[in-house]
């Protein structure tokens, strides 16, 4: 028994790590991958300069693609010796000064640049590249990876982008600029002078929405245990990552290492058989289909599977279709309805009167007084809501506002704090009628008269 528990813990640990920390395994996108790979290779070996934008929705595998290509190329000695990788992130490098400092550090030129005074940004960058050239007979090529490329567009005058593209255009030193972004209109963000220097090479990554069978296969891939041989192979590939000599591009440090794991053939086969069986059931497929309809990205599926795998414990050592369905139901649920069901009856009554007001006046904004007047009409006749003081109702109204179920109208009256009394401040409803309807139906032990009032505004 303890042995089985240890096995299970091993499986759980392996699956969790692979789902969470496998930054270099890219599935699909063979063409795009070859494209990027070729580009990087040419920069490294022939010294060609280039620029490229990688565009795709969040979670579609843009970063993974770059990492995968790097992992491939790092196996080659010539690439490792010939290139420097500079990794910038739009969220971290919030202005060009910080970015340039980081570039200097990543190119290991702090000592060379120390104590020098540069007139302009371009001069500084040119100096950095010059330093590389000075070393050998052939200069080293630099790969700039710019994550969240759209954020760099917001920097003052787009100096960094201008200079990088300018260098890549004018054959000064071989550099390759890889921009990664999820904004489709990113080209429009570039200034004219920057745009004209960009090579307009774009690679789009779009997960396909009509390949449900592949999605199921992917799901199965993510859940099955590989054989020990393939584990070793993968481990070798991962070992190459250690050759990145960069403090910043550090995913290698914490990358999931298949070499740490090995499974008994019997355990592995039992587990894999179980996974295949479960994924073939009607229930599991229905849940997966629902998830696929929601979000086709791999990241979303990994998130789902991570939670599924986390549920494994000695008492229930297998993934079952019931568990998949239960977890899928959680993903499907509407958070706002959950929150509505946690309100008190009084607060729900306010929501209902807001709904009536919105229906009658075609989603006009409302203030507390209007809603309170409508609510008191109901409260006078009802048995449950009688004798609720105005101050309590106001507090309930504020609670709705804190929960952002209703939102103050921005600008105008909302802007001047203290100018408008809170009773008269105009709000708008941030819910749909359907959500309110569902919440009223699902609310536990709601008084009948309130439920009836929710149906019709006539009292």
């Amino acid at each position: 028994m303890p042995e089985e528990n240890a096995d299970l813990a091993g499986i759980r640990r392996f699956l969790k790590e692979r789902l969470q920390r496998d930054y270099t395994t890219l599935r699909g996108y063979a063409e795009e991958r070859a494209n990027v790979r070729q580009l990087l290779q040419r920069t490294a070996e022939m010294g060609e300069s280039n620029s490229l934008l990688l565009i795709g929705p969040r979670g579609s595998g843009k970063t993974t693609l770059i990492n995968a290509v790097l992992a491939d190329l790092l196996a080659k000695k010539s690439f490792v010796e010939n290139t420097l990788i500079v990794h910038l992130d739009g969220n971290l490098h919030t202005d060009d000064r910080v970015a340039l400092k980081s570039i200097t550090v990543q190119m290991r030129l702090e000592n060379a640049a120390d104590g020098r005074v540069f007139g302009s940004f371009a001069e500084n960058l040119a100096f950095l590249l010059q330093c590389l050239k000075a070393g050998g007979k052939q200069s080293k090529s630099v790969v700039f990876i710019l994550e969240e490329f759209d954020l760099f567009c917001a920097h003052h005058n787009q100096t960094l982008l201008y200079n990088l593209f300018d260098v890549s255009q004018s054959a000064q030193a071989p550099i390759c600029v890889l921009g990664v972004t999820c904004r489709l209109d990113v080209i429009e963000l570039l200034e004219k002078r920057v745009k004209s220097r960009f090579s307009h090479r774009q690679v789009f990554l779009f997960p396909n929405s009509e390949r449900f069978e592949e999605y199921v296969t992917l799901c199965q891939d993510l859940l099955t245990l590989p054989s020990n041989n393939s584990l070793l192979e993968a481990a070798e590939r991962i070992d190459n990552l250690q050759r990145i000599r960069s403090d910043v591009l550090c995913f290698a440090l914490n990358h999931f290492d298949p070499g740490d794991f090995s499974f008994q053939p019997r355990t592995r086969e039992m587990w894999n058989k179980q996974v295949t069986k479960v994924l073939a059931t009607q229930q599991a497929r229905r849940t997966l289909q629902a998830l696929y309809d929601f979000d086709i990205s791999e990241a979303f599926l990994k998130n789902f599977l991570f939670r599924l795998v986390a549920q494994l414990r000695p008492q229930c050592p297998h993934i079952t279709s019931e568990k998949i369905a239960a977890l899928g139901a959680q993903f499907e649920g509407d958070d706002k309805i959950e929150l509505l069901c946690g309100l008190s009856v009084l607060e729900l009554c306010l929501i209902i009167s807001i709904k009536h007001h919105s229906e009658i006046y075609d989603r006009d904004p409302f203030n507390f007084e209007i809603i309170f007047a409508r609510f008191s009409k109901f409260a006078k006749l009802s048995t449950t809501m009688q004798g609720v003081e105005r101050s309590i109702v106001l507090k309930a109204f504020e609670h709705l506002r804190i929960g952002e179920l209703i939102m103050p109208l921005s600008g105008g009256s909302g802007g001047g704090v203290g100018k408008v009394q809170k009773e008269f401040e105009m709000h708008k409803l941030a819910l749909t009628y359907g959500q309110i309807q569902q919440a009223v139906q699902r609310y536990q032990a709601l008084p009948t008269e309130v439920a009836q009032w929710a149906q019709s505004s006539l009292i």
Binding site: K16, R21, N254, A310, C341, S344, E369, I402, V420, E423
Partner: protein, 459 residues
Amino acid sequence: MEIICSSLETLFPCREAAVATLGELIGDSREAYPSAIYLFGHSGTGKTALTRAFLKECAKRQKVRTAHLNAIECYTTKIMLEILLDSLAPEQGDSLKADNMLDFVEQLRRWHCAPDSKSFLIAVDNAERLRDMDANVLPVLLQLQQLTSLNLCVILLSQLPFEKFYNKTGLSEVISLHLAQYNKAETQRILGSDFTQVRSQLLDQFGQDSKRLEICKEAVTEEFYNNYLNLFLSVFYKACRDVPELHLTARKCLSIYLEPVLDGSVEASDVSRLWRHIAGPLRSALTQIYMRIEKPPEEAADFAAIEDQSVRKMAQSLELPYYAKYLLIAAFLASHNAANQDKRLFVKHHGKQRKRMQTVNARAKTSDKMSTTLGPKSFTIDRLLAIFYAILEEKVGLTCNLLSQISTLVHLKLLSFVSGEQNIMDGSARLQCTIGLEFVLQIGKVVGFNVRQYLCDFM
């Protein structure tokens, strides 16, 4: 993991499922953490308490470094980063500095080589505040694991559904968990769980009075307390589901409930008679919920009577001079009537008004559009004085005494300046009246003036 869960389950009744899920996700520091967990639910559902206890257990048993901070305290990013660094690495003292996100992330990357630190947990309370901070804070926190390549998990706590956090370009995946509001049975169980504590407190309280002590010992049983809570919830539960608030009020009202039993006038088992005693005070306590007004005990007994007519009492107890009261009424009329109606309302021979279809339609307004519910409009001091002289039957001189009454009313916050506070003398200052209709009706009654008669809304 099991030890952590079982130790927390006793502390947090009715939260077994949430504890178990947290345990699955971040219970074992040897396994991969998810990059971010979003924990949401209404206030008073135990988000903070649960997380704090969980982090503490993790820190104690698995040597995980933890940080728990409240986003409200961090009005700049720098403060947040310093708090984080301080609590993640307490032994390094003030030597760690982080001016921006980049410094922070680099600092964390350096810890990778440190042998003692393995896993990190960061919890952020009031996470909705992160939206108002620098735009890069939230995306970086959600991706911190990938950026720093540490085994690190960020837990965000908030009252909002996660969809309220989405920005223009989206966020990376999080695992969101909902802490559902307690239902009535659970609330009663939680409130009843401190029975032994309440009992010992009561016994302490009556330490000197031996007769009462006897009765108290006999009467205060678990059943008695549960009966009380049942009655208490039947009044409060519809208006408030916030457990800490209910807990506080239940403690407060217990002494009133116990009073007749201690006197010997009612048997402890006679629930219906006890209900008759407690119903009034409970209802009045309902009007006070959330207010936390601490009153001396002699007053507490009859706060029922006070609260019922709070507006009337307040209006009557307001000791204003005679003219000031008229000024206040004039201000209210000026705020809630349109200026073009003044002539018809206050001039004796205003001529015949022709009824046209247009005006009839315009006036056929519904109660929701009344100016008393839409809030006060602003008026000039000239108009205020004109209305004041029109409604006051006697003649008074325009003296500085009279004008100083206006500033008194402003000081009392019954009037407020909308604009032009500096230039009162040139007449461009605009004021508005901040009191409600109820209040002004009471003032009118005191001086014998029918306010309704002069309001356009009621014609």
